[in-house]
Symmetry: C2
Subunit: 343 residues, 2 copies
C-alpha cells in the first residue's frame, strides 16, 4: 500500500493523498445515504451504510486511503454521556463533567460497546481495494475531555481551563479514564483490520504550550507508545490542530509515532524545517482553496515545491472538507497531486 | 509615560503592564455602569459612562495604560450596517456584504459619525493621570470584513474565504473601503488625545500565511505607514491573533509599527527569538491562568524569565480578560509584574 509505505518513509511512485472528512456532505452520494437514517449517530452505528460512505471517496476520488466513517464522540457516548447532534449547533451532551461526583456517570469498558465500529472496519476492509489503506482513528483525550466538560463545542473552553488551572487532578482523572479506553479502542480497531491509526487533537490549540504538553500531548504519546509496543507495524498519525505557536517544541519529544499532521495555519516550509526529519508530514492544503480551481492549483504547487516529490510527505488538506466545496475540484485535487509528484 | 517609553524601547524602571479587556465584566464596578444603559452599544456611545469604565481599571488595578472603551464594530456600524448585540450570541449585523451590489449599503465618511469616540477620548485624557497612557484602537480591515461578510462571528469563515478565493477583487474593495475609513478614524483618535494606537486583527488566524499577508497584513501595514508618516511619535501596536504557524515570516516585513502583540498560543521564547529584535513584544499570559493565583504566578515567572527585566517588553495577557476571572488576581497580577521586573 503506497499510503503505508509513505508513513514508513519508503520510496513511493508518487506522494499519496487522502482528505480529512473525505466522506461528507460535499458528495451527493453521501447525502443520499445520510438521508436514509434519522441522525448522524444512526449513520455511524449502521455497519452497512457506514461502510458504504467510507468507501465512496475511494470510488469517486481514487485517493490512497479510506478513513473509517465514525465520530470521535462515540467514546464519551459509550462511556455513558448521552449525546445529541443538533442541526447547525453541533454535538451536545445532556450531562457534563464538572466535579468529582460527575465521574460516577462514566461507565468503564466503553470499548466493549463499540462493535458497530469494529464491524464497520471488518466489512470495509473486506470490500476495499487491497492497494488502499484503511485508517482507523480516535479523538485525543484532551479534545474528548473538552466536549465532556463543556458539554458542547466552546469558544473559550473556560470550564475546561478553569478545571485545568484550579483542579488539575480532576482533569488528569478524566484524561486517564479516556486514555485507558482509547488504548483498547485503537487496539480493537487494529484487530478488526485497520492498517494505520490517526489521533485527532482538534482542540490542541486551545492550550498554551506548557499546559498542552502536560494535559494534551503526554496522553497522546502514552497511547501511541502503547500501540507501538504491541503493533510496531501499524503507522500512527498524530494531528494536533492549532499548535503553530509552539510547533518547534515537538522536535524535542520522544518519538512514538510516525506521521505528524500539519494544519493549514502552519507554513509548510516552517513545518518541514522544524519537524520534517523527525516525522513524515501530512498536509496541509487550505480546504477553502478548493472553492476555486486556480487557487487550488496554486496551493498544490506551493506544497509540492516545498515538500518535493520525495518520501516524507503525505498530501492532505490542512483541515476537513467543507460541505459546499465543489466535488469536481476534490476529484481534480487527487489527480493533480498524483501527476505533479510522479517520480 | 512608562508605557510610551517601553513602546519606544527606552529604559524604564519596570516592565509596564496593562490588560486586554481590562474594562469588563470581571469588575463589579463595570457591571454597575453597564446596568445603567440598555445595550452594549449604548455604553460605547455614552461619553460619560464610556469614560468612567475606561478609567476604572486604572483606579482598581493601577496598570500603566488605559484603553479606550469602545468596540471594533463601530466602524462597520457607522458605515451603515445595523448591528445588534445579542446576549450569549455576540454581535450580529442585519445585512451583510456578499456581492458587488451590497457595497452600495456602505456609506462613506463613517469617521465623521464617530464623535462619541473622540469625545470619550478627550474626556478620558483630561481625567487620566498624566503618567498613564491612553491607547486608542481599531479592528484591522480583515477582521472587520469577516463580520461584515459573515454577518456575525463564524467558525469556518467560509463566506469570507469563498469570496477571497473566488472573487478576490470584491474582498479587496471591501478591505480598501475599510482601510480608508480606519486611517482617518485613527488619525481622529490621535487628534482627540490618545497616546498610542493598537490595531486588533482578532481573526488573523483564520487565514493561511500567503492569504493573510495579501488580504490581512498588507492593509494593516498600509494603515500603520500612513499614521507613522503623519504622527511619528505615536507608538503603534499590532496584534494579529492566531498567526503562530507563520510568526517567523513577520521578521521579513517592512517595519511600520513599534510593538507586536503576542497571543498566549505562541511560545514567548519562540516569539522573542523570531521578532524580539525587530519589535517590542507585548504579551502574553494565558488569561485562564488567572483562575488560580499559583498558576498565575508560575505564568508570570516564565514570561519574566524569558523577556527579562530589560526594555523590549510590555506585559499583557495573551487575549482579553474573561468575565469570571477573579478581580483580586487581576490586581495581584499588576503588583507582581511591577515587583518582579523592577530594575
Amino acid at each position: 500500500m503506497i499510503f503505508i509505505d509513505a508513513c514508513n518513509r519508503k520510496e513511493t511512485s508518487y506522494t499519496p493523498i487522502w482528505m480529512m472528512r473525505q466522506a461528507g456532505r460535499y458528495l451527493n452520494e453521501y447525502k443520499e445515504v445520510r438521508a436514509k437514517v434519522g441522525n448522524f449517530l444512526d449513520l455511524c452505528k449502521n455497519v452497512e451504510l457506514a461502510t458504504e460512505v467510507t468507501l465512496q471517496p475511494i470510488d469517486i476520488l481514487d485517493c490512497d486511503a479510506a478513513i473509517l466513517f465514525s465520530d470521535i464522540l462515540v467514546i464519551p457516548l459509550e462511556m455513558g454521556l448521552e449525546l445529541d447532534f443538533i442541526k447547525n449547533e453541533g454535538p451536545k451532551f445532556r450531562q457534563c463533567i464538572r466535579d468529582e461526583n460527575d465521574l460516577n456517570i462514566l461507565k468503564p469498558m466503553a470499548h466493549k460497546r463499540l462493535d458497530y465500529v469494529y464491524d464497520t472496519i471488518s466489512l470495509t476492509r473486506s470490500k476495499l481495494d487491497k492497494k488502499k489503506a484503511l485508517i482507523g482513528f480516535c479523538g485525543a483525550p484532551w479534545t474528548l475531555a473538552t466536549y465532556m466538560i463543556e458539554g458542547q463545542g466552546s469558544k473559550t473552553y473556560s470550564n475546561c481551563k478553569k478545571m485545568l488551572y484550579t483542579n488539575p487532578k480532576l482533569l488528569h482523572k478524566v484524561l486517564e479514564k479516556l486514555s485507558n479506553e482509547l488504548k483498547i479502542y485503537l487496539e480493537s480497531q487494529i484487530k478488526a483490520g485497520v492498517n494505520a491509526i490517526m489521533i485527532f487533537d482538534s482542540w490542541a490549540g486551545a492550550l498554551e504550550k506548557k499546559s498542552y504538553f502536560e494535559f494534551g500531548f503526554d496522553y497522546i504519546n502514552d497511547i501511541a507508545k502503547y500501540i507501538k509496543s504491541k503493533y510496531p507495524n501499524i503507522p500512527i498519525i498524530v494531528f494536533p490542530k492549532g499548535i503553530g505557536g509552539f510547533l518547534y517544541a515537538f522536535n524535542q519529544i520522544e518519538k512514538n509515532f510516525d506521521v505528524f499532521g500539519i494544519d493549514w495555519g502552519i507554513d509548510m516550509q516552517y513545518a518541514k524545517n522544524a519537524l520534517g526529519e523527525k516525522f513524515v508530514l501530512q498536509g496541509n492544503l487550505e480546504p477553502c482553496r478548493l472553492y476555486n480551481l486556480n487557487t487550488m492549483e496554486e496551493g498544490i504547487e506551493e506544497i509540492v515545491r516545498i515538500m518535493g516529490n520525495k518520501s516524507g510527505h503525505i498530501f492532505n488538506l490542512g483541515h476537513g472538507m467543507l460541505p459546499d466545496l465543489p466535488r469536481e475540484n476534490a476529484i481534480k485535487l487527487v489527480q493533480i497531486v498524483k501527476e505533479k509528484t510522479k517520480r
